[in-house]
């Protein structure tokens, strides 16, 4: 808040942007260079991107709550509130320094720069070619907001049947160690980066890494009671389409920060181009999913259109800055197709993912990463992209299986049948999400 702005010395600097005569009397003012000012603008944009990515957590919470049953809503909301808290704190404690170790201690495979944050350059400014792009603090907080995303992706897939404390334990381990360690291979300038692998904002590093853990969780947990009965699929409808829609729009909004911030400066042409490809791919994803689901299911399915938007967004994330607008359309439409096919296919395979997290984040994350090799131009190699996808896939999946498996073997991961039937809100929290509303809890 305004503390001590002295109006009397305030008129020295007059806005000259649109042709007004410029008078810069103050020496301090004169000493402010264009590079300094660019730094301020860059850093401001990165902070805007940071709060947009933060908002994605509300997006996930809303989407996941809307796509599941009313009796498990408190549980979902609680998990998402806890995740963002755990994500930020563990990233400060170990994650950041594991992901950006500066120096690797094990080839280009592993490094750790120590616990806690604050050990940045003296003036806390990170610059490129002499122009400040953001501060150390901005760097940390932007990355911290990303970190929790991987865990949130898991949350939706394992919803309605996982024990709360087991989930929190898995999440903490995955976000604190696996995500940042794997991230270091690429963004931390590790071996994959050296090899020429490209993943602009994290189709693989964030979304697939989350998606693999989701898949591991779904396999080890098994489907919700009543989902697959006598070989037939009994869909379990989400309880609030408005919540799901709010979730997707907020995620789309957040993605402007997720991708736009991944430019790592406010470079006008780059950031605005990323905005365009991001928006176009999302719109194309809606279109693709809408058309295909209308065709397959005869009626247009809102949840598929919503997943289509996310599919397009995940798909464009790896190459938002290097593919053309036309390619963005193609990537988006195909992602929209893929998510519909994947949702239906996983259901056939009896892998029960209530919100479609695996289809959106894993299937389309892989697609997006490979798409860089197809549409990204000569600099990018499909093979290298494939190597990256496989490397991340193997390690992330095995790590997730190990963690989930260990927790399953010790404290267990699945709530009792009774609790599942009456809902995790009563079982885990002794609370209802919609007190007073009459809700059929027969399903």
């Amino acid at each position: 808040m305004r503390k001590s702005v002295t109006l009397t010395v305030a008129f020295l600097c007059i806005l000259a942007v649109f042709g007004l005569p410029v008078v810069s009397l103050a020496d301090e003012a004169a000493a402010v260079t264009g590079a300094d000012a660019t730094f301020v603008a860059n850093n401001t944009w990165m902070l805007v991107a940071t709060f947009l990515v933060f908002l994605m957590h509300l997006g996930f919470a809303s989407l996941e709550a809307g796509m599941t049953r009313a009796k498990n809503t408190v549980n979902i909301l609680f998990k998402n509130t806890a995740i963002i808290s755990i994500g930020i704190l563990t990233y400060a404690l170990v994650g950041f320094n594991l992901m950006y170790p500066c120096e690797f201690s094990l080839g280009q495979w592993f490094g750790f720069a120590g616990f806690g944050i604050g050990a940045g350059p003296e003036d806390m400014i990170i610059a490129e070619d002499g122009v400040g792009v953001y501060t150390y603090w901005t760097d940390f907080i932007f990355q911290a907001m990303f970190a929790a995303t991987a865990a949130t992706i898991v949350s939706g897939a394992v919803a309605e049947r996982i024990k709360l404390h087991s989930f929190l334990l898995v999440t903490t381990l995955y976000v604190a160690f696996v995500y940042p360690w794997l991230g270091s291979w690429q963004w931390g300038e590790g071996w994959l980066d050296q090899m020429g692998f490209y993943d602009f904002a994290g189709s693989t590093l964030v979304h697939s890494v989350g998606g693999w853990a989701a898949l591991a969780g779904v396999i080890l947990l098994g489907p919700r009671l009543g989902k697959y009965v006598n070989g037939s699929i009994k869909p379990i409808m989400g309880h609030s389409m408005p919540l799901a829609t709010i979730g997707v729009f907020l995620l789309w909004l957040g993605w402007f920060g997720f991708n736009g911030g991944s430019v790592l400066s406010a470079d006008p042409v780059e950031v605005s181009f990323v905005f365009v490809t991001t928006a176009i791919a999302a719109a194309s994803g809606v279109l693709g999913a809408m058309v295909l689901s209308w065709f397959i299911q005869k009626k247009p399915d809102l949840t598929m259109a919503l997943n289509g938007a996310l599919a397009g967004l995940v798909g464009i994330t790896a190459g938002a800055d290097v593919v053309s607008v036309t390619s963005a359309v193609i990537i988006g439409v195909i992602a929209g197709f893929l998510v519909v096919v994947s949702v239906i296919g996983l259901d056939r395979a009896k892998l029960d993912d209530p919100v479609g997290a695996i289809s959106v984040h894993l299937t389309c994350g892989i697609w997006g990463t490979l798409a860089v090799g197809i549409f990204g131009g000569e600099e990018f190699s499909f093979i290298t992209q494939l190597i990256g996808v496989v490397a991340y896939g193997v390690v992330a999946f095995v790590a997730a299986l190990a963690i989930f498996g260990l927790v399953k073997a010790t404290i267990g991961i699945r709530v009792s049948e009774e609790e599942e039937l009456s809902g995790l809100d009563l079982g885990e929290h002794g609370m209802e999400a919609y007190s007073g509303f009459e809700i059929y809890t027969t399903q």
Partner: protein, 114 residues
């Protein structure tokens, strides 16, 4: 005295109320219900799978009346609710042993009406 319980299609409620009013039956109670009868349900579809919905939304009416109104009440309900399509509903008639108006404590026939 009789207690009439009727299941009708939700969208016919207004017409039934209208028909009852015309027969000067002003007192009734309404509840939501799910019903399963001759009407075989319909299909919803969610995320690529088909859902068979065989518990359809119905409205349940309760009208307590004196014997002499029985015919006209049933007629009114039929008149308001009938579309001729499967799912129009059912009327059940129960004997009512007694009736009490809480406000005044009146019992029996007087309590039911006015």
């Amino acid at each position: 005295m009789k207690l009439i319980v009727a299941y009708i299609q939700p969208e016919r409620l207004n017409a039934v109320k209208q028909a009852l009013y015309e027969k000067e039956i002003f007192r009734l109670s309404v509840m939501n219900a799910l019903g399963c009868g001759q009407q075989k349900g319909y299909h919803e579809s969610y995320r690529g799978s088909d859902i068979e919905v065989n518990l359809l939304k119905k409205v349940r009416l309760e009208v307590a009346i004196n014997e002499e109104y029985l015919e006209s009440t049933i007629d009114a309900i039929i008149q308001g609710a009938r579309t001729g399509k499967i799912g129009d509903g059912k009327i059940f008639v129960l004997d009512l042993a007694d009736c009490v108006r809480i406000r005044t404590g009146e019992k029996g026939k007087e309590a039911i009406g006015g």
